[in-house]
Amino acid sequence: MPSAPPSLRTIPITLTINGRRHDLDVAPWTSLLDLLREDLKLCGTKKGCDHGQCGACTVLVDGVRINSCLSLAVMRDGAEITTIEGLGTPERLHPMQRAFMEHDALQCGYCTPGQICSAVGLVSEGHAHSRAEIRELMSGNLCRCGAYTNIADAVEDILEQQQKAAAE
């Protein structure tokens, strides 16, 4: 890790996070993940490996799922960001959050926010049509507890509901 330049200026950016506009001054090397967790105290997004390999930090940027640890915050100036807190709250859950709860699609829970954001992104991408495809396209999100069966069940449930709604 190189040592930090002594006095680099911060850069002003604007992000819309969970529907709320934030005007921010950020150091250019701040990852989107650290901005969310450290500065904005949106701690629902988790840091697993900080390498873009585990998926625990997945958020939606303009509707597309990304590893927030691999993106510098300044690269997302002007973007609309949705984190797990923006999908729903315990009182008003997003259908995907509800599906994860109803299918017991979690154990320790640490990968869960990333799994859910990834699943929401997956459904809106429209590429997944089968269980095998769900599993393949959810492979960027590690679950060490091995709750993969129930995770696939939850995603499949929502996918089917959506396909049904589209057909009607």
């Binding site: 629902g44 599993r135 993969y148």
Partner: protein, 780 residues
């Protein structure tokens, strides 16, 4: 315990009694991202951050350490070394004084922490830690266990011998015998939430530490030992961990101690959260083993004698390597009776990180070695390995085939029934015949199928650890506060114990508040480990609830002028003769009558005893059983493979919560499959761990899960011992089910030499290793 714990309550108007499938108590928070882990807690003003200063040698003397650049770096508050530990620099959990908090003059593994930087931000601390200049004088290092044996085999702790009969004589007289060596790899826990500790100093000697630990009492003892303050000054708390799997049984001690030392020294809160790569380099893993075995058998495949040595890479210190290697020996028999047996352990010292607990605690390695011997016998005789398995199963009590190598009788054997049912339900025989046929015709793709059993002993082998406490308060409004010594790492322990309390008072689960584990409420607890969480804490909580319930009954009998046997707790109410009072009403009245509505519960496992010197005793209260059948296909040109189908039948006694138990079985299977297939730890010749991130260390993905995965609990089973609700422990036993994946891969490999040779496929059976075995067998 009273008889009500064993009544059938599956049909009930209550939400969440024992045996009901209830979701995890924090599920609604996990899906919303509002379940707090330690790094998510708001930091008090003035919080400082710590970073590890790691060494760059596997074995060396430290000649000097120069921190001048570190101390000048922005934000740095101080640097701590071994000399700054106020009382002691040792945190050996085995009390052998061999585990320094920070390396003091001697580096014993690559990456061993030698200092800690405390700074205003975590980023500043981490950057500054890179600026230290350390001079070393290199010493020769030993990384590999085989190398360790060759160079004299220095041990980190006393080995164990298990002996019954005369193995060597019986081997000599056996009609057939063979010998071999198996290498079994280790495993990184890869808990998604890495290690973390957060210490807040208090007045006098006090310090409160939030630690991601499976063993808050040990963290408390270590902090008090290093600080030289009484245990009462140290409070350790943990609400939940983002996974533990054994990796947080002892390995959190270092971070907690360092955070506490810095917090007390600076009188400011200190958070210590290592980076993932540092966590993987500096904390212990599952032990790798080298198993040297000799087995004597007859022409029908009956095992007559077994002699085996289990050598383990323990790393630089003892940590838990003694009990881990002991447990390997306790499971070398798996479900099989060995008429004559001699088993030895060899806990080797190496210049690697000190290996530690990991789900199964040596048991899986013991069992994999045992199953290799079965395979050897089967291939030597041209038999289906399942036939050999069945011929060697433990018999019923009194059969003369029920004694383990540690002289405990197997009294609760259900393995034959489990295996028969799974063989039928998975259609094993027809599928095996079809696979043999397929392999005869298919040139490149080969298939394999295997059905393997599991028998796993439940209890800490250290008898004293088999105790637990709980604290239950009933408040005036009838709400119930529950606390116990167990920790929650995703396994659903909190939910299960709350179900016990709800069941005992016959109230809805929502009335029970589950509270964070803390040494301030329940003292002297054991690690949440050895699959014992529900067995121990469930019974302790039951004991606490029972005391309060008895007081309520005594009060009601007096108040309503009736006898205790006329009082029943039903569906959020209490029936007193003809009267029916709501639970909160009764509690309110009891309060005004000055009834004590709080109780501490306690439990100790009965019957068990173990003498390590003689190798005899009853170390396990009971056994949990399971069986699995796996089918795989391999590509013989690349070694790549797919797990096509898995069927599991597993024994959890009378499940406390079938939803949680099935999750545990599935999850353990996936994790165990990762251990035996794709997860490979690799050290270079300098002793550097080169697989220190998920980029190079491959744990199973959603797409690696078996394509067809049928998991069933043996619903007819119930624990023959009076455990809580007649349930059985579930955390570890299913971890060994995927031995069937390894053996199915082995069969697919064996097909290239017409099944005449045991492929001796070592673990993990990575695609490379499968390919090499295929090539080896093709060459003959």
């Amino acid at each position: 315990m009273d008889a009500t714990a064993f009544e059938d309550k599956t049909v009930t108007p209550l939400s969440g009694p024992m045996h009901a499938a209830r979701r995890h108590d924090s599920a609604h928070k996990h899906v919303a991202g509002s379940a707090d882990y330690i790094d998510d807690m708001p930091e008090p003003a003035g919080t400082l951050h710590a970073a590890l200063g790691m060494t760059d040698r596997a074995h060396a003397e430290i000649l000097s350490m120069d921190f001048s650049d570190v101390e000048k770096a922005p934000g740095v508050v101080c640097v701590l070394t071994a000399r700054d530990m106020p009382h002691s620099n040792d945190i050996s959990p085995s009390h052998l004084d061999d585990e320094p908090v920070l390396a003091d003059g001697l580096v014993q593994f690559h990456g061993q922490p030698a200092f800690v930087v405390i700074a205003e931000t975590r980023d500043q601390a981490r950057r500054a830690a890179r600026l230290a200049k350390i001079d070393y004088r290199d010493l020769p290092h030993i990384i590999d266990p085989a190398d360790a044996i060759e160079k004299g085999g220095t041990l980190v702790t006393k080995p164990l011998t298990l002996k019954r009969g005369e193995a060597e004589t019986a081997l000599d007289h056996a009609p057939r015998q063979l010998r071999g060596r198996m290498r079994i790899g280790g495993q990184e826990h890869f808990y998604l939430e890495g290690h973390i500790a957060f210490a807040i100093p208090g007045e006098d000697d006090d310090v409160t530490v939030w630690s991601s630990t499976q063993h808050p009492s040990e963290v408390q003892h270590m902090v008090s030992h290093v600080l030289d303050v009484p245990s009462h000054a140290v409070t350790v708390q943990v609400r939940r961990m983002g996974g533990g799997f054994g990796g947080k049984e002892t390995q959190g001690n270092q971070f907690a101690v360092l955070a506490a030392v810095a917090a007390k020294k600076l009188n400011r809160p200190v958070k210590f959260r290592p980076d993932r790569d540092e966590d993987m380099c500096a904390t212990g893993k599952r032990h790798d083993f080298l198993v040297d075995y000799q087995v004597g058998f007859d022409d029908e495949g009956h095992i007559l004698a077994v002699k085996a040595n289990y050598a383990a890479r323990c790393g630089f210190s003892s940590d838990l390597s003694g009990p881990v290697t002991d447990r390997a020996l306790f499971h070398a028999d798996n479900a099989y009776f060995y008429p004559h047996v001699l088993l030895t352990s060899q806990p080797l010292k190496t210049n690697t990180v000190s290996n530690t607990a990991y789900r199964g605690f040596g048991g899986p390695q013991g069992m994999v070695g045992g199953e290799r011997m079965i395979e050897e016998v089967a291939y030597a005789l041209g038999l289906d390995p399942l036939q050999v398995r069945k011929r060697n199963f433990y018999g019923e009590p009194g059969s003369g085939r029920d004694l383990t190598p540690y002289h405990q009788e197997v009294e609760d054997n259900i393995i034959a029934r489990l295996v028969d049912e799974l063989e039928r339900d998975a259609d094993y025989q027809a599928r095996r015949a079809a696979i043999l046929d397929f392999n005869a015709k298919s040139r490149v793709i080969k298939k394999g199928i295997a059905l393997t059993p599991v028998k796993f002993g439940i209890s800490f082998t250290m008898t004293a650890f088999n105790q637990a406490g709980a604290l239950v308060h009933v408040y005036q409004d009838g709400s119930i506060h529950l606390n116990h010594g167990g920790t929650e790492m995703g396994q659903g322990l909190y939910t299960k114990v709350a179900q016990v309390i709800a069941d005992c008072f016959q109230v809805d689960l929502e009335r029970v508040k589950i509270t964070a584990t803390t040494t301030g409420k329940v003292p002297n607890t054991s690690a949440t480990a050895a699959s014992s969480g529900s067995d121990l804490n469930g019974m302790a909580a039951f004991d606490a609830a029972r005391q309060i319930k008895e007081r309520l009954i005594a009060f009601a009998a007096e108040r309503w002028q009736t006898t205790p046997d006329a009082i029943r707790f039903v569906a959020n109410h209490v029936e007193i003769g003809e009267e029916r009072v709501s639970f909160p009403d009764l509690v309110k009245q009891a309060y005004f009558a000055r009834v004590h509505l709080s109780a501490a519960g306690f439990y100790k496992t009965p019957k068990i005893h173990w003498n390590r010197e003689t190798g005899r005793g009853m170390p396990f209260y009971y056994f949990a059983y399971g069986a699995s059948c796996s089918e795989v296909s391999i590509d013989t040109l690349t070694g790549e493979y797919l797990v096509e189908r898995v069927d599991v039948l597993h024994d959890v006694g009378r499940s406390l919560n079938p939803a949680i138990d099935i999750g545990q079985v599935e999850g353990a299977f996936v994790q165990g499959m990762g251990w035996l297939t794709t997860e490979e730890l690799w050290w270079d010749d300098k002793g550097r761990l080169r697989t220190h991130a998920p980029s190079t260390y491959k744990i199973p993905l959603a797409s690696d899960r078996p394509k067809i995965f049928n998991v069933k609990l043996a619903d007819w089973s119930e624990n023959r011992q009076p455990t809580i609700g007649r349930s059985k422990a579930v955390g570890e036993p299913p971890f060994m089910l995927p031995i069937s994946v390894l053996e199915a891969l082995s069969m697919a490999v064996a097909s290239v030499a017409d099944y005449r040779e045991c492929p001796r496929l070592d673990a993990p059976a990575t695609p490379e290793r499968v390919l090499m075995a295929v090539e080896r067998l093709k060459r003959g």
